[in-house]
């Protein structure tokens, strides 16, 4: 599998005849670090949503981790999602579950044993400096802490591809640094492909990356 993500002539939209993204082309290789930037409302989140199958393409070809999105069934989509790590803009933590349980979610879905789930959750919560809040509930945490939990959850099952939608939006500098370090670490140490949608690319990242820019629903690759 040369490309982790391959898209050509992609049209995505919430209504079939009103595409938000038109004729998008993308080719992302394994272990690449990719930024998709653009103004508010340009369709950055729409692209991310289409990559994990929340929005299916209206037109064009999309292939993620070897899975063709044309006529994709729910079982195939479920299987694909088990290999993805997604960080959502609104965190999407389960309120009635503890921090530990939230981080364990992809591992539980992946069918790992309880001891493995706990061990991995503790390891990642240590990385995001939240091991002391393991038994807290999401509503007891600050926004930055919730995003760090969401980050730990996205990394818990060592995904092939991480999709992060504004992972540092509205976060304090400490939480932002923790998150960028984790994403960088995932690419460098685990060989994970990372796609980040953001307003600003951090200047101190210190790694090679690919950059796509979205403007008026059209995706441009920035050289």
């Amino acid at each position: 599998m040369e490309y982790v993500i391959k898209a050509s002539g992609l049209n995505i939209g919430y209504e079939r005849d009103e595409p938000v993204i038109t004729d998008a082309n993308m080719a992302i290789k394994a272990q690449e670090f990719v930024f998709i930037t653009g103004k508010s409302g340009s369709g950055k989140s729409t692209i991310i949503k289409s990559l994990y199958g929340e929005l299916l393409p209206n037109h064009g070809e999309l292939n993620v981790c070897g899975v063709d999105f044309r006529n994709i069934g729910s079982s195939k989509l479920n299987l694909l999602r088990r290999y993805l790590g997604v960080v959502f803009q609104d965190y999407k933590l389960i309120d009635e579950w503890t921090v530990e349980q939230n981080v364990m979610l992809p591992l539980i879905i992946g069918g790992f044993s309880k001891s493995v789930c706990i061990k991995q959750a503790h390891k990642l919560l240590k990385h995001v400096k939240l091991l002391h809040k393991i038994n807290k509930y999401p509503y007891e945490l600050s926004g930055g802490e919730q995003q760090r939990v969401a980050m730990a959850r996205a990394l818990a099952h060592n995904p092939i591809l991480i999709l992060a939608d504004e992972p540092t939006g509205n976060l304090d500098s400490y939480s932002s640094e923790v998150i960028w370090n984790l994403l960088k670490g995932a690419k460098e140490h685990l060989g994970t492909t990372v796609v980040v949608v953001t307003h600003n690319i951090p200047s101190t990242l210190g790694i090679d990356y690919k950059h796509y820019f979205l403007e008026g629903g059209v995706l441009h690759e920035v050289n």
């Binding site: 994990y52 929340e54 079982s75 989509l77 479920n78 299987l79 694909l80 999602r81 088990r82 993805l84 997604v86 959502f88 999407k92 933590l93 389960i94 309120d95 009635e96 579950w97 979610l105 992809p106 879905i109």
Partner: protein
């Protein structure tokens, strides 16, 4: 607190539904038992000039279980002192035969009329007494009782269904977000719904066991037995194997239907 009320709601609605279902069974059993008692006490009296054969009558009227001749000895004994022996002998020869017909089941008024007509059409039979009026009153009372129980059960079941529909709406609200997040991480339909299925199955199983325990214990209480004896009815004992299995099975079906509605609705959101 939210969790307790959620458990309580499914437990109560399942309990009410199963309780009313079993209540109709108990009433049905009591009514059937009482009906067979009436049948045992009930007989059609027939006056015939010649001997009647049971098999021949049963061919025409299958409800007939047995026929027995009513002895005329008692009447003749009473007349012994008032008549001469010659006249008494003549009367004995001329006296028709009286038969009591026992039925196997409790027929309705219409059927009794048909039976009467069939019996009257036999040339040797001169009179048929069905005691239909007394019998009809009793029978109607039982039908009324049974109908009242069914109506009561229907309304109780409606309330239970309304309760569960309300709970389904609450569940959709409560679990929608969690199930949607789980779906985003690739959880299958059953994985997403497992928590709801587990909770509901446990609650409905508990409610079924409570209903079983109620119908097992209550008929054995001295107070209930005394009351039943006063009414001349027999309270049926609870059969754990048959009735228990039916109630537990019904509770499981009830839980599966409710959770499946929720899971499907959330799946579509």
């Amino acid at each position: 607190m939210k969790s307790i009320s959620s458990h309580f709601s499914i437990f109560i609605s399942s309990f009410v539904l199963l309780f009313s279902f079993q209540f109709t069974n108990v009433i049905k059993s009591i009514v059937n038992d009482y009906a067979s008692k009436i049948v045992n006490d009930y007989a059609i009296v027939v006056v015939s000039s010649s001997e009647l054969k049971e098999e021949e009558l049963q061919k025409q009227i299958p409800e007939i279980e047995s026929i027995s001749e009513i002895s005329s000895k008692k009447i003749l004994d009473r007349l012994k002192n008032e008549m001469s022996s010659k006249n008494l002998a003549l009367l004995q020869v001329a006296l028709p035969k009286f038969y009591s017909l026992k039925l196997g089941s409790l027929p309705d008024k219409k059927r009794i009329e048909t039976i009467k007509q069939k019996l009257s059409s036999i040339t040797t039979i001169s009179r048929v007494e069905t005691f239909a009026k007394t019998h009809e009153k009793m029978f109607k009372m039982f039908l009324l009782l049974q109908a009242m129980v069914y109506i009561f059960t229907f309304f109780v079941a409606c309330i239970a269904v309304l309760l569960i529909l309300k709970q389904i709406r609450i569940w959709i609200y409560e679990h929608q977000r969690r199930m949607a997040i789980m779906a985003l991480f690739g959880a299958s339909f059953f994985m997403k719904s497992a928590m709801l299925y587990r909770m509901t199955l446990v609650d409905t199983l508990l409610s079924a066991l409570c209903v079983c325990a109620f119908y097992d214990i209550v008929p054995r209480l001295p107070l209930a037995q005394a009351y039943a004896a006063e009414l001349d009815v027999v309270l049926p004992s609870f059969n754990w194997l048959y009735e228990g299995s039916v109630l537990v099975g019904a509770s499981f079906v009830f839980a599966l239907i409710a959770v499946s509605i929720v899971a499907r609705k959330i799946g579509r959101v």
